[in-house]
Every structure is written in structure tokens, then in C-alpha cells.
Symmetry: C2
Subunit: 471 residues, 2 copies
């Protein structure tokens, strides 16, 4: 049976069914992109052409295009037409936070895509326990608990987070310093709104986490790329590039792309700079819990004698992303400003989710869950690393850092990492190209391979598929 | 028994108990404010004095102050000391959205305060049904549903909202035009971020909804007060004041303070202006469902042939505020811009709450609940109006508008409305002063009395208490 040409988007007519035409078209385009029939950067037929070929109204095509553009699949270029987002082999798989499908109405539910970054193991989340705690909390919702939540967060959750941080991340803070947010992105937005003025320079890891950079750019701040080497962000380079920066954003536990830890010496230099320059440091500790060799490092915040670090935690990696909850630990002197900023931007986070998380922590489930995931991720990481070494042999160069949620693999004599990602996508794999994590010209390349959802038994087959894909 | 002097804040020592000292102090100050022992504008003893008198560390007092400042109870004036927020008789009870307490750890749970504005009837929310749907949805959360939600909202919720709006608000839109938000404030923030540049003039109702104005100001937009009369916002005055405005924000169903509807002639003028000026109109339809005399008016959006209206709905009034969900209906041409803006500011809203609301709507509970609340609010409104007329007789001047969630009462020969609110607060009542809803110099005064939580049998007693309070 002949395989369809790689760029052949099926322009066969849509048929009226229980699924609206627009939904059908949406699903068809998305599926074509997922299968590699439509490739990043490829131009789509015009909406008019497509409407005519598919036998639907022009508006139907427009709506599907707009929805896909909104979700990052397509990019509208005005008169130049609509293309598949070039960032698809870049931003999207790169992101720790690729939105997954949740609606069975559009297409069949699927689990995390192989090698997708930034998701916890969705298959082994304690769903029944979580449902039980949620049900109990829902039954308790009454009177005032139905009303507006406290803006800074449910007091019992703030208390629970403060206790957890003291025990598990070496962070000593009061519950009053905890601000519950709708996740890291919202938290960073709050930080930017509270502290930054348009044009303010911000030290940002290069390579670095794309979504965080976008939040800063949306706030009209100016991320200044600071190189990352084997010891994490090169703080000395920051002094040279932007000594007057107002903020530095770092992932000290395991760098968001390279997986390296920020060395103790650099931690101290960073904190000393912040104290003397009157600057602030955002610690994005998204995966600090996931350390497999030796003891995990305490948070940067634990060294923060001068109270210059805003610690950002997320339940997206430690529980699940659909919860949309995270938190900040805010230096005391910034509390009034953050409280005021938060109160004019939101009316607080949903009560039920906050209550459920608080119960989950207080009743000891959280600690047990993290311990279990640590063990599981260590196994999955080892299984994938072993499988890759066996399949690729000498071609593979891979530094396995002691923690994190992905591996960084380089293949001798291979095409560019963006091209490798493109080829892998055609085989249903979703690795991320390291080169796309740079704001400036990329200086390194390789494949970032999320392992948290790679079941051990499947690791050899996935490694073989990857080998076939990248040739 | 002698009553304590009105301004006597109890400076008796705090005793170490299971409740941390800071929590105790926090609760004591808040309770003193609630009881009128500490009055809006009143200066508190210095933190040092208070720490010494209470026998606690200075830091403990600071933390309690900061928390209360963050929640809007106190205002730090630097060297001039800390005062009880003058806005307490202003912003806070004025707000449709006063945060209620949800933590039993801080103080006993209490229901809505008498006459508090902007809350649905918390006593008659179908809690058991809601808990059942939540439990069911929680049990179904698996695999991809645990992952990142779709940024614009759960597809089945967007579809359910579009169907509801068509039937109930006369709004014809596609599910693709619905963007699920974390409530009206977040939605308006999204609108501001997507459409406004610093300094952009925005028509804003005068008087108007304080929290919405704050969102615009936080986005560096410039709200231009446009007077409201018996026919709603005076659109002609807008032409004079700021013909080049980029946006107009209106509450056309029942004005957020005066309760009047925007007349049909003005609706048409407003839409024609928006179309010709290339401006956008935000329709805040927070209480459009609550209309008691005759048929409720269709939404302004239903007349919007030129697609210039961004419709904003909230589940805070139709379900409950602790849910933190609302939605926008976005004109088609703005969809890509809104989708992009939303994707850099949040990663979507929590899946569980969205699923529960979708089920609640689709299974017909939403329609029944709204109908039931409409009947209930009509009774509570009638009972309160009758009680006020009986108690105050000729002194009372009150226009009972055909819809809304509060009454506007004026009392002949009375003190200023701010003073009346202050007196009422001492009797545990929480009316809102109309004069505080103005951005410029207030031109009108009166008491706004939320009736949705006034149980019929209690209405006469509450009216008598109000009479005693205001003298």
C-alpha cells in the first residue's frame, strides 16, 4: 500500500455527522499535523480553496483555523496565508507544558505523547484517592466556603505548603508569605506585574524555559539571555550583560533544558548580587523533588538570608497540570505589594481544588506520592537511558544528570535537532529540540526526551522507533 | 452592662494556644473591625506599642498587619502609621465581590453579612447535587484529563455555554467564540491586555463597579467616567468626553449600582458608535438572569450585528463565587489575538470545575437553578422592600427596579451615606454607600442593600436594626 506523500493534507469532502463540520475539520488538520502530513512551516491551502474542496462554508474553515491558531498549531500570516506553526517542532514539544487533549468529542483520548516533556506520570497518579478527597471536600462546601475565596489562598493550604517546604525543600517561611496562584505562569505574571516596569532587564537562562520568557515579554520586560554551562547560569556573565537587572529567573535544581544544577558557589554569588543590587531572584523549582542520585539539593531559597528570593512552586509536576495550582513564597517586604497586585488581577483561586490539595498534604499523601514518583521516575529514566545506549551505541552521547524529568541525547553525525524532531513526529514521537530553547542564536543542539511517561517495558521499542525515525 | 467605647480595640495580652499568636491577632483585629470597635480611617496603635501591650514579638504584629493590609482591612501609611482602610465602608461592602472567610481555623464560619452586595443566595445553593456531580467528574479524571487543560476552555463547557446563551440571553455565537476565564476580573484583565495600550481612554459608567475600574487602571488604561441616568450610561456624553475611546464597559441589564437598564435607543447608539469608531464594548452581564418583572431583556450582544461586543458572563452570581469561573464571548476577528494573549498569561482553567459546570448545564440543572433563584430573589426583594417601607415610612425613597440583586434606598434628612454605612456596620449590617461608587466627585448618595441573602422572615427585623443603626 503506497504511503501518502508526507505533505498531502487530505482535501476530501467532509460529511455532515453528529460531529459539527468545524469540529471535524479541526480534528482532521490537527491529526494531519500530528501524523506529519502537514509539517511545521508548511503553507495550508487558502480558506477559500479549502472550503470549496471540502464542501463547507468559508466561515467553517475560518473558525477551525482560528481555533488551531489559538492553540498554537497554525500561524495566520494575513495576506501571506496560513502556515503550520514553525514553533510546533520548537515551542510546543519543547514546552514542559504542552496542552493535552481533554475532550473525547474531538478525538479519542490519548495519553502523554512519547518523550513529551514536563508532564508527571499520568498513568500512575492516585486517581481513586484523589477522587475520594475531592468528593469529601465537595460535600463540605457550604455557606461561606461557596463565597469568594481569600485572595492570597486558602489559609489551611498556605499553612500546609509552608510546612511541606520546611521539611522537603529546606525553605523556612511563614504561611503568610505563601501566595497560592493558578500555576507558575500566572505566578510569574503576578511577579512581573508587581515588580517590573516596561523595558526592565531580567536575567534569563540561555537556553531557558520558553513559556516563562513569553510571560516576561508579555509584561514588556526585557529578558537578557545569560549563558548556562555545567554549573548552571553563568552569574558572572550576568554582571557583565546587565548589572542593573531588576530580576533574575533561574531553575536551580535541574536546569529546565540542560538538567544541570546551579552550583553552590554560583548560588551564593547570585544571592550576593541580588542583595547588593537590590534585585530579586525568581527560583522556579518545578522539578526539585525529582532527584535520583544522592540527596536532593535544598532550594536556593533555603540560602536566602537577605530575603531576595521569590520561590515558585507548582503542583503541575508534583500532582497534575489540570489542577492549575501553584504558589509563591514572597519576601516579607514584598507582601503588601503582591497582595495588592493579586487583588486587582484575580479574586483568588477555586476553593475546592485548594481544599483538596491541603487535605492531600496534611494527611500525608503528598509525601508518599512524591516518594513513589521519585522511585518510579528513577526506574523509567534508567530504562530509557539503557535502551537508548543499546540501540544507538557509539552514536549516542548522553549526560545523565542526577535529577529532572527528561534526558538530553546527542547523536553523532545526525541532522539538525529540529529536523530530527520533525522526523520523530512522523513516527508519533514528541522529543524536543534543544536548539529551540535559545532566545539568541542557539549554541547547542540535541534531543530532550521526557521519560516520566515512558513505561519501562516500552523503552526498548521506543528507542528503536526513534532510531528508525531519525535514520 | 456598659457598652465598650466604639473605638476601643482590646489591647489585652494574647495567650499562646493551639492557634498561632499571629492568627489570634489577625482574628482579633478583623473581628474588631467587623464589630465597629475599630472604624474605617481610625489609626491603630503602632506595631511596637501593640507588640508590647499584647506581649508578642514585633514581627508577629507586622505579619498580622501585612496580612490584613493584603486583604484590604488595613492601610499602611509608612511613617504616618497604619489605619483601618477608609475603603472598608466603601470598596469592600460596595464590591459585588467581597471575599468571605473560608477558613474555620481563623474564625468561625459565617454566612453572607446582611445587605452584602453581589453574592448569590448561599443558603439555597443545591450543595448535595453539586457535590454529586463533582464526585462523578472527579472519578472520571484520568490520563489526558489530568494534563494541561485546553487554554481556551474545556470544549464541552464552551459548547454548553454557547447553547445556554442562545436560549437564555439571545446571544448567537459559536462555541469557538467562548473563552473560559477565572471570573470577570480575570476576563476583563485579558481584554485589557489584548486590546489596550497604556493611556487608552475607556468609557466607564459613573457610578460604576469599583473592581472593574481597578483592573483597567492596573492595565494603565484610563477610565473616563460617563454619567449614568435613568436610561443607563449616557452614550451622548461619551461622544463628548472621549470620542476616540478604544473600549466602553457597561452593565446593560441592571446597572451595577443604580439597577437601571440601558435603554434600547442607547444600546443602538452605543453599538453604532463602536462600529463607526472601531471601538469595542464590554458587556458585563453579571446579573442579567435576575429579572423579576416582565421578561428579562436579551443581552446587548444579541443586537450586535457588527460584532463589536465582548460579552462577559460569570458563574459567581449564577452558581457560586468560590468556583472562580466565568467566560467571554469574543468577536470572531479578535479570537486569534485573545487566544494568543490567554496562552501567554495562563495555561487554562482547572479541568474539574469546568467539567462539573458543563454537566450541570447539559443535564438541565442550570436552567432549573436559575429559575428557582429568580423566584426566590423576587420574594426576598419584595419582603425587604415591604419591610423597609413599613419601618421607614415617609422617610424612605426607593425606586425598585425590575431586576438586579440589590435595592437602592435613600433616607430623607439622614447623614451622609458613608456615615450611615459606618453606623450600620456597628450593628453588624453591611450596606454599601452609593457615593463611593464614583470615580469623580459623587453626585448621588444612598444605601445599596443586597437582598439575595435576606431570608424573608428576617427582613422586618433587619429593617428595624437598620433604622436603629442610622437613627
Amino acid at each position: 500500500m503506497p504511503r501518502p506523500a508526507p505533505s498531502a493534507f487530505p482535501l476530501t469532502r467532509l460529511v455532515r455527522s453528529s460531529l459539527p463540520l468545524q469540529e471535524q475539520l479541526y480534528a482532521r488538520i490537527r491529526s494531519a499535523i500530528a501524523k506529519g502530513q502537514l509539517r511545521p512551516g508548511e503553507k495550508l491551502p487558502s480558506a477559500r480553496t479549502m472550503a470549496s474542496a471540502l464542501g463547507v462554508a468559508r466561515g467553517t474553515v475560518d473558525m477551525a483555523f482560528m481555533r488551531l491558531a489559538g492553540e498554537g498549531y497554525l500561524l495566520a500570516r494575513g495576506p501571506a496565508g496560513t502556515i503550520v506553526s514553525p514553533a510546533l517542532s520548537i515551542d510546543r514539544p519543547v514546552a514542559r507544558t504542552v496542552p493535552a487533549r481533554i475532550s473525547e468529542s474531538v478525538e479519542a483520548a490519548s495519553d502523554a505523547r512519547p518523550f513529551q516533556m514536563g508532564l508527571p506520570a499520568l498513568d500512575l497518579f492516585p486517581r481513586a484517592l484523589w477522587a475520594r478527597l475531592t468528593s469529601r471536600a465537595a460535600k463540605q462546601l457550604a455557606g461561606p466556603a461557596l463565597s469568594y475565596p481569600e485572595i492570597l489562598g486558602l489559609p489551611e493550604l498556605r499553612t500546609a505548603i509552608a510546612s511541606y517546604l520546611a521539611v522537603s525543600r529546606g525553605v523556612s517561611c511563614s504561611a503568610a508569605q505563601i501566595i497560592v496562584t493558578g500555576g507558575y505562569q500566572s505566578g510569574l505574571g503576578l511577579i512581573a506585574q508587581a515588580l517590573l516596569s516596561p523595558g526592565d532587564p531580567v536575567w534569563f537562562e540561555e537556553p531557558g524555559y520558553v513559556f516563562a520568557r513569553q510571560v516576561l515579554q508579555a509584561a514588556s520586560a526585557q529578558p537578557v539571555p545569560i549563558p548556562v554551562d555545567g554549573q548552571g547560569m553563568d552569574v558572572e556573565a550576568g554582571f557583565g550583560a546587565a548589572p542593573q537587572a531588576r530580576l533574575a529567573v533561574v531553575t536551580p535544581a535541574h536546569h529546565s533544558a540542560l538538567g544541570v544544577a546551579l552550583s553552590l558557589a554560583r548560588r551564593q554569588r547570585l544571592l550576593a548580587w541580588a542583595a547588593s543590587a537590590g534585585a530579586w531572584v525568581v527560583e522556579d523549582d518545578y522539578d526539585g523533588e525529582f532527584h535520583y542520585v544522592g540527596r536532593k539539593l535544598p532550594a536556593l531559597k533555603s540560602l536566602d538570608a537577605a530575603d531576595r528570593v521569590i520561590y515558585a512552586g507548582s503542583f503541575s509536576k508534583t500532582l497534575f497540570p489540570g489542577l492549575r495550582l501553584g504558589y509563591l513564597v514572597v519576601p516579607r517586604q514584598l507582601l503588601p505589594r503582591f497582595a495588592e497586585t493579586k487583588s486587582v488581577t484575580t479574586r483568588g483561586e477555586p476553593t475546592l481544588g485548594q481544599k483538596t490539595v491541603a487535605d492531600f498534604i496534611v494527611e500525608g499523601h503528598f509525601g508518599r506520592h512524591l516518594k513513589r514518583m521519585r522511585g518510579l521516575y528513577a526506574q523509567r529514566r534508567e530504562a530509557l537511558a539503557t535502551a537508548l545506549r543499546e540501540v544507538f551505541g557509539e552514536r549516542l552521547s548522553m549526560t545523565v544528570e542526577p535529577g529532572g524529568m527528561h534526558l538530553l541525547a546527542r547523536f553523532a553525525g545526525a541532522a539538525s535537532d529540529v529536523e530530527l524532531v520533525r522526523r520523530a513526529a512522523r513516527h508519533g514521537l514528541s522529543p524536543t529540540a534543544l536548539s529551540t530553547q535559545y532566545l539568541g542564536r542557539s549554541r547547542d543542539s540535541g534531543l530532550l526526551l521526557g521519560f516520566t511517561n515512558v513505561v519501562e517495558e516500552r523503552a526498548p521499542a521506543l528507542a528503536r522507533t526513534l532510531a528508525r525515525a531519525i535514520g
